[in-house]
């Protein structure tokens, strides 16, 4: 249950994830510098939010080709988990670890607000403590969070149940009004085919304490820790 939180130049949710994992969940956690490629001591790598490299080219474009991200496929192949939130999701798409892309918000403005997420797939390691149809409350904070995938990829995603979260109303209806950024079919988060790489635009680390308005973000990490606890170490060390 060893977490590593990656710091790229320009990352800013690193401290928040570190605090939630270390202080709220009391799990071992350390920072990983973007030039590090040795991930052998970790069970889960977190790619946090921020503006890696200023996002001056395309959100996540440069970080998607950084040494630490280039080490991820091997880490995933060995059974490691990856959670990318916000900029982390953008980076995972840029690195082709997840399909699709994140475009400029349809309103053409940055959006920081609370959103509701409908759980579509409760069988991933990140969501197995949830039930399908459950509604989570989690904030977003991004300018480029409009998910897009070509029709073929979208069909494949849907067929393999890789769409994990969709933006919805408090009552769980997937509507246009509940979609804060114009995402295709309200997609808020997806997993890879193996279910071990999760990318989502909302910030689970900002929904981890009641004083801050929601603890639903913890459910994702609890699910994951549950998986790790049962397996001892899934990396079979």
């Amino acid at each position: 249950m060893r977490f590593g939180v990656v710091i790229f130049p320009g990352t800013w949710s690193d401290c928040d994830f570190h605090y939630v994992i270390g202080e709220v969940l009391r799990q071992p956690v350390k920072y990983v510098w973007h030039r590090d490629t040795d991930l052998s001591e970790l069970d889960c790598v977190i790619l946090p939010g921020g503006f890696s490299y200023g996002d001056y080219l395309r959100a996540g474009a440069i970080a998607g080709r950084s040494p630490v991200v280039e080490a991820l496929p091997e880490f995933v192949a060995r059974g490691g988990f990856v959670l990318g939130s916000c900029n982390g999701f953008q980076i995972l798409c840029e690195a082709k670890l997840l399909p699709g892309a994140l475009l400029r918000n349809e309103c053409l403005q940055y959006r920081c607000q609370s959103t509701f997420l409908l759980v579509e797939n409760a069988e991933t390691p990140f969501t197995r403590g949830l039930r399908p149809g459950q509604v989570l409350k989690m904030p977003i904070s991004h300018g480029e969070g409009k998910y897009y995938a070509d029709p073929e990829s979208l069909r494949a995603l849907t067929a393999r149940n890789q769409i994990v979260f969709r933006y919805c109303t408090e009552a769980g209806e997937v509507t246009k009004a509940a979609n804060p950024n114009g995402s295709l079919e309200n997609v808020a988060g997806i997993v890879n085919e193996g279910g071990t790489v999760l990318g989502l635009m909302p910030h689970p680390e900002r929904a981890a304490e009641a004083a801050l308005g929601s603890t639903d973000g913890l459910l994702l990490l609890h699910s994951l820790i549950g998986v790790l606890v049962e397996d001892g170490s899934f990396l079979k060390r």
Partner: protein
Amino acid sequence: MTEAEPKVTLDLARAHGLTAEEYDRIIRILGREPTFTELGLFSALWSEHCAYKHSKVFLRRLPTRAPHVLQGPGENAGIVDLGGGLALVLKMESHNHPSFIEPFQGAATGVGGILRDIFTMGARPIATLDSLRFGDPADPKTRYLIGGVVSGISWYNNCFGVPNVGGEVVFAPEYQGNPLVNVMCVGLVRQDRIFRARAEGVGNPVFYVGAKTGRDGIHGATMASAVFEEGAEERRPTVQVGDPFTEKLLLEACLEAMATGGVVGIQDMGAAGLACCSAEMPARAGTGMEVDLTRVPRRETGMTPYEIMLSESQERMLLVVARGREEEVRKIFAKWELEAVEIGRVTDDGALRVTMEGRLVAEVPVRALTEDAPVYDKPTARPGWLDALEAFDPLCLPEPSDYERSLLEILAAPSVASKQWVYRQYDHQVGINTLVLPGSDAAVLRIKGTAKAIALTTDGNGRYVFLDPYQGGALAVAEAARNLACSGARPLAVTDCLNFGSPERPEILWQFAEAIRGIADACRLLEIPVVSGNVSFYNETQGQAILPTPVIGMAGLLEDAGWRTTQWFKNEGDRIALIGPEAVSLGGSEYLGVIHGRLAGRLATLDLRLERDVQSACRGAIEAGLVSSAHDVAEGGVAVALAEACVSGPGEIGAEVALPSAGRADLTLFGEGASRIVVSIPAKAQRHFEGLMQEWGAPWRFIGTVGGDRFTLKVGGSVVVSLSLDQIAHAWRTGFERYVS
């Protein structure tokens, strides 16, 4: 000294904003004519922006000391003790002129500058707030300015990664040619890690760190010290260009370097850039400095010494490093991929000596540029126009025939209506400390690892200050403190941003002097020290000055974060009480402006002792756990405060209120006066509450009950307003947005 440089004459000095007397003074100090580079140094450091030459005599009247003040005015930011070895760093600054010329970059670099002021003290910025003023909301130019300013702030804040947690957006025609962009920042620092902008230690190396120097922003400080004439947009090249990504790297690298103990002193290259740093840092320490411009990293070729010294390129710092620790510091900046170049050293002779390619281009005593800058005590005069304004009686105007319509109009006035359109573009949660998000009287942030929280607000009312600068100044302080009291906090300190017209006009300087007197008296009585601030004069375009607008930024402390209280009603059946005096006035009110299109009349009298007692009573009730909601009664009077309490929260809830008649119903509903707070309390806490109010000696009365899906107001027994929550919410939610989207 340099052949290529123009010959310095009195005319050239004048073109640099210096007077004939000031030019003579320079010649006397140097014992010769200045070089072109030296003229640039004097012009920048003796500008109003850097030297405070017209304001200094007045600023001395502000109370700046208290046992908990660790750093008062004179540094990059003020610092107060939070207990437990922690301290809060705070500062507010204006970026008015650049934001008018180029709203996006002007506002963005305003954020950048204030962030550096905070982390140069060793603190990590934990929140920003922005106080904005614009002209006619219906004018397309205003829409362009708001769009640019808000997206500039949003871009810089969000990319850097600091939450923007509050502020104001206010409209008045007087800001049409001169909008105001004031940004406040607070940071958190361990008391043993505080850094100051001092060049201590003769022989210590001086390091240039951060972005490269270009030709942008040359003479920004001088521009901020002159009025606008037509064609101000042509000054666009004097506006700097921001790079929040580099700023974020600079933050991390500076804090990491500071933690090694190898950094002796540090200052942000803000206004007047390297010129300002290389003069102020040794001046504060009683040392001198040698600087070799040949080594300054540049991104343009052919830059002259004058340009390098005066460039206001962003995201740069000047560091004094302990001798022998150079390599350590260099390595940290290399890790963050930033320039860190040794460009000079600290000397013992009190001079700033600047060389380039082996030639001496400037040699000036640092004191001459700083402490010995001219200070003026210019004449002030009460403006003649005030008599007629004071004589105006708002009650001579016809009473509205439909109070429901009037209330909806005021709620939909862009200065009053919800600012969600603005703050949803700002990340207000990064750092996971924000307990009370934007949209309540004050933002509240927890201090991790403690039970404590801080509350933050900005406040200012140009209409009040215009009609009565003394009371207006005091009211700004009182209202900021009241906002904090409503959120459960005890005020700790003020940082101010004083926006006025040209101080060379006696009536403007009178407004300034009177406003300072008001701020000083209120701060003294409420026991809140002023620890930092900024003066922005020359906010005029073609002879039209802005409304005099001192903005008060205030930070407060909650010993228990659990005390935090928000402004909206929460529970069916809660009793509503109005704490504070009955006396109100329509003079200078939002009602008078929105419904009658006037700015005139007298303000209700502010009694500072009563203000203090009302705030103590409110805080006392909050700390006793009796209060469900507390909301300051401000612009729009009690009717607007109550309506906001119904619809500004996450869930809407109605209220039924009966007010005693204060004469005409418009005066009762929309009259504005200080020291008034609307609270709601559970019915079972009523007894306890009554007892507490008696103890504090604050006037108060129960005025109604929370509940239902309507908002009903009775005055003197008859219903004057009965509106559905939908009607109220619609007016309040769309009032601002209809102008900007």
